[in-house]
């Protein structure tokens, strides 16, 4: 099935985000061989040039590497992956914090709310 994209943001950027996500959560395992640019493009239903640009960006980020003979593979470098995860997680956390604060909550209130939520989840786990 074709991946879902928003047409008002550069597609290549969205592809980068999607592939990065898959690498971070293990869907694309480390060291795994990626399909060719063309095959990926058909899978995602996008222009091969766009896919090429996305993959180049991912290489620059250190998440993907190209070998002469074997084509593109997901990196085996643990530190690169955890660094990417850190960056993404920090960004998401910051964004979340800003959005919560826009509701009028203080940082402390946000953190309390989060802790309460964890407990709630624990309860749910016990009751279900």
């Amino acid at each position: 099935m074709a991946w879902q994209f928003n047409s008002n943001r550069p597609i290549y950027q969205q592809i980068v985000d999607e592939i990065e996500l898959r690498i971070l959560n293990g869907t694309y395992e480390m060291g795994m061989r990626l399909p060719s640019v063309r095959d990926l493009a058909v899978l995602a239903a996008v222009n091969p040039n766009t896919m090429q640009r996305a993959l180049a960006e991912l290489e620059e980020m250190g998440l993907v590497s190209t070998q002469r003979n074997t084509g593109r593979t997901v990196t085996t470098d643990e530190t690169a992956v955890s660094r990417a995860r850190d960056i993404k997680a920090d960004l998401l956390a910051e964004t979340f914090m800003m959005q919560m604060q826009a509701l009028g909550l203080s940082r402390k209130e946000v953190l309390e709310r989060l802790a309460k939520g964890e407990h709630k989840e624990g309860d749910h786990a016990v009751n279900s």
Binding site: F5, R9, P10, I11, R38, A41, V42, A45, N47, N49
Partner: protein, 232 residues
């Protein structure tokens, strides 16, 4: 980088209407480009002139630096908006025909695509449904290793599944030495596939840019931009 298609001051007049008005364009190699505009804006006229089916009223057209003629016809693979294969020809006859006249025809690829479509070789064109016939024509056109593909409204009037099939075929056959020019008025469906686009309004090119540029600088989709520019 040399361009695959260049027109200069290209105009086409039909008795009372000016279908193309002073069109200047230069298309690079290796890109998928959209020729976008409402019905009647001159898209088909432009494609027919490049394909060698119409002669311009004024202006010049160069394909790979050659004027339109026998030579350029072997570089161009053209898919018209209509059914143009003879009714009586079978699938096999059509393959034979294309293989005979076009050196760049890839028979293996054509057969492979046809087998995936489940079209038996012995069926005549008139026995096929309209949708299958259109797919058949697309297969023939995309099985050629041409330098310039001209597709006139390839996804108009087909169901969504067929639309996906057509776009997948276009993507899958992409070759970075070749340029694919797709004319359509269904922007939203094709914009993910386009590198660049041209807006054609009443025979005039009003915009020529990359799709990424539009998304990055204006935060709009091509579809949204199109609606703005062509607001009635």
């Amino acid at each position: 980088m040399q361009s695959i298609l260049e027109t200069r001051a290209l105009s086409k007049r039909y008795s009372s209407t000016l279908a193309l008005n002073n069109v200047d364009l230069s298309l690079p190699k290796g890109k998928i480009i959209g020729l976008l505009g409402p019905n009647g804006s001159g898209k088909t006229t432009l494609l027919k002139i490049v394909a060698g089916l119409l002669t311009p009223t004024t202006g010049t057209v160069l394909v790979d630096n050659q004027p339109v003629g026998e030579g350029t016809k072997s570089l161009i693979s053209y898919l018209p908006e209509r059914t143009y294969l003879p009714d009586w020809m079978t699938v096999e006859d059509c393959l034979d025909y294309f293989a005979d006249f076009y050196k760049d025809f890839d028979m293996a690829r054509a057969r492979e695509m046809l087998s995936r479509l489940n079209v038996p070789a012995g069926k005549r064109m008139k026995q096929l449904s309209k949708g299958t016939r259109e797919k058949m024509q697309l297969v023939l056109v995309m099985s050629r290793r041409a330098k310039l593909y001209l597709l006139d409204e390839p996804i108009g009037g087909v169901d969504p599944a067929t639309r996906d099939y057509i776009l997948d075929t276009i993507i899958g056959n992409y070759d970075n030495e070749a340029t694919i020019l797709i004319s359509t008025h269904l922007i939203a469906d094709v914009e993910k596939v386009l590198d660049e686009f041209l807006f054609l309004k009443e025979g005039v090119i009003t915009m020529h840019d990359t799709t990424d540029n539009v998304r990055e600088t204006q935060g709009k989709s091509l579809d949204e931009l199109f609606r703005e520019v062509f607001r009635c």
